[in-house]
């Protein structure tokens, strides 16, 4: 979810927003809390080939494509989504909400996520299998 920055409270993104960014949830990234411009995820962090990418989406502000020939795409373009039939089992001690700005945002925006989680028990062989498959 993307909202206008704190000065505007919880208002929806303004129609003058011309920025764009890609955001995602990375398991085990260990990046901490970093302000815009400080953290740079690895160049392949948001590729589908990164097994530690749990979910991701692209955001395009309403005014981000006005000068282009094609009309503005949807504001939110979901890329990697969580599958309800094949759940993503996080086997790291942290997940990070990470974003990479494409076009600088016109105004501050608040990016927030909420995950529905379930705590499950794994036997050793299942844990080993997940460790093998979820390694970059």
């Amino acid at each position: 979810m993307v909202s206008q920055g704190s000065a505007a409270g919880s208002e929806p993104i303004d129609d003058a927003e011309a920025g764009s960014f890609r955001a995602g949830i990375l398991a085990g990234a260990g990046l901490g809390d970093k302000a815009t411009g400080v953290a740079a995820a690895a160049s392949n962090a948001f590729y589908a080939t990164n097994d530690l990418l749990v979910a991701s989406f692209d955001f395009y502000g309403p005014k981000s494509m006005v000068a282009n020939a094609c009309t503005t795409t949807d504001m939110y373009n979901e890329l990697i989504t969580v599958d309800t039939e094949v759940p993503y089992v996080v086997i790291r001690d942290n997940v990070c909400l990470v974003y990479d700005v494409g076009d600088n945002m016109t105004a501050d925006a608040v990016l927030s996520i909420r995950m529905s989680c379930a705590q499950i028990t794994l036997d050793q062989s299942t844990l080993n299998q997940l460790l093998r498959t979820q390694t970059v």
Binding site: G32, N94, A118
Partner: protein, 47 residues
């Protein structure tokens, strides 16, 4: 896949993307409280 309601919970976080600023940022969710990596075994009796 069905889960027991007692094992289900929400995790949320947020971060501010500063206007007119390039590159990226992050917000971390610490999951260590939900992970119990130590396998528990009953102690083996030695004769």
């Amino acid at each position: 896949m069905a889960y027991n309601i007692k094992d289900v919970f929400y995790l949320s976080t947020s971060t501010t993307i500063t206007g007119s600023t390039a590159n990226g940022g992050s917000a971390q969710l610490d999951l260590s409280a939900y992970i119990d990596p130590i396998a528990r075994e009953s102690p083996k009796q030695s004769v």
